[in-house]
């Protein structure tokens, strides 16, 4: 545990995130230009998609992969119902906002996943390459559950048809790019990937540093200006990742994943989307308050996951699989 924490806090990726939090807290005017932030998020999607596709083209699709995919998709559909209950009762949110927030927590955060892969790899527990496919498969289901919950049975006039909604979910820019790059990686394989690997692989961690710097800035600024976050919602934004992370990790171990991959599944369940799902919600649930769902997922859950929860999940996965602690 302690070594893990040390490792987490000497990783430049995490340190740049902390620098971002600090700079915003100190009211520095440091800011990454908007188009650069957007481009970095597209780059990270394309790179992770490619990498996952190449990995699957090498490993092929076996029973482990299929069961991991099944577990991920099931979790994506089911976890929002639990989250919705907690948000509506303990969190005192209305139906629409509860559904919107639940969708975020059921879906996944690509950057949290990527950071976890960094950290797990540093602990010699690199997750299987197919976990990227699991991640991609987990983006959308929670959006559907969340919308179902938010809209209830009798969906109002003026809202979108289910067809429109599905169209928007699957043409969402980050999902499109992640899946597209995944397919390109699978088609091109390692040979096709080689010439583009200096760009997509060698540069990856550096871009991640700067992206996390920006996320740190935005997360801290957002919480400092937030008006909509009660202590109840703050508590839920810590509670859900702990519970979902434990559930996901256990599920991973039960279906027979190795410690690294089970931890990755745990991190996927624990993470809350702040790129793909907010974009979908702006369209599908424009009445939901971004001041709630973005602040919870980006400003509270994301830092909690990066700084603390990934370490906890990794330790849990290790103890459940009987692997000894970090850095064996």
């Amino acid at each position: 545990m302690f070594e893990t924490a040390i490792q987490t806090f000497t990783s430049p990726v995490v340190l740049f995130f902390v620098l971002g939090l600090f700079a915003a807290f100190a009211r520095s005017d440091l800011a990454i230009p908007e188009p650069i932030a957007k481009a970095m998020s597209l780059y990270l999607m394309a790179a992770i998609g490619l990498k996952g596709g190449v990995a699957v083209s090498k490993s092929g699709v076996d029973v482990t992969v299929v069961s991991a995919l099944g577990a991920g998709i099931a979790a994506g559909f089911i976890l929002p119902f639990f989250a919705y209950g907690v948000l509506k009762t303990f969190g005192k949110l209305d139906r629409i906002n509860s559904g919107a927030v639940a969708a975020h927590y059921g879906s996944i955060s690509v950057v949290t996943f990527v950071t976890a892969v960094e950290i797990l790899t540093g602990q010699s527990r690199e997750p299987g390459g197919y976990m990227v496919a699991v991640m991609a498969a987990m983006e959308a289901p929670a959006i559907l559950s969340g919308l179902l919950l938010a809209r209830g049975m009798g969906s109002k006039a003026g809202t979108q048809s289910t067809g429109e909604m599905l169209h928007e979910v699957f043409t969402n820019s980050s999902i499109m790019l992640l899946l597209g790059a995944f397919v390109i990686g699978m088609v091109g394989g390692e040979v096709g990937f080689a010439p583009v690997s200096p760009f997509f692989e060698a540069g990856f961690k550096g871009v991640l540093c700067i992206f996390l710097l920006d996320m740190g800035l935005i997360a801290m600024r957002r919480i400092m200006e937030s008006r909509s976050i009660t202590w109840r919602l703050g508590a839920i934004a810590i509670f859900l990742p702990i519970v979902n992370g434990a559930v996901g990790t256990t599920l991973g171990v039960v279906i027979g994943l190795d410690a690294g991959s089970a931890a990755a599944l745990g991190v996927l369940c624990a993470s809350a989307s702040y790129i793909a799902v907010p974009a979908a919600m702006r369209l599908a649930l424009p009445d939901a308050d971004p001041g709630i769902y973005l602040t919870m997922s980006l400003s509270i859950t994301f830092p909690f996951n990066v700084l603390i929860n990934i370490g906890l999940i990794s330790a849990l996965a290790a103890s459940l699989t009987g692997a000894n602690g970090a850095m064996q």
Binding site: E34, P35, A37, R227, Y274, R282, L283, P290, L294
Partner: protein, 102 residues
């Protein structure tokens, strides 16, 4: 001297994600065109927002020039969204050249 005619200029501040709802309304009413002006941040009753394209919090200013009757029809059409989705609409009289175009 060159001849000018009076038209209404309407500017609507809307979420970028919902921009199409506004421009579709403009098209529906039969106004000839519109132009999008970027905006980067702002403050209203619901607090501060900033353009964060990664998270999709961006807004835009939709500007359109139309004859008075169409302008009023547009305002009527957009009114529910204004209250509902936090859009801001303002309009005023402007002089234009080649009024048949608008």
């Amino acid at each position: 001297m060159i001849e000018t005619v009076t038209r209404k200029r309407i500017e609507i501040l809307a979420d970028k994600a919902l921009q199409r709802r506004v421009t579709d309304a403009i098209d529906r009413i039969g106004i000839t065109g519109w132009t999008i002006v970027p905006v980067t941040s702002g403050k209203g009753r619901e607090g501060v927002w900033r353009e964060e394209s990664v998270m999709g919090t961006d807004k835009v200013l939709v500007l359109t020039i139309a004859a008075e009757d169409k302008a009023m029809a547009l305002a009527e059409e957009l009114a529910p969204m204004l209250t509902h989705l936090g859009f801001v609409l303002s309009m005023w009289d402007v002089q234009v050249i080649r009024g048949e175009r608008f």
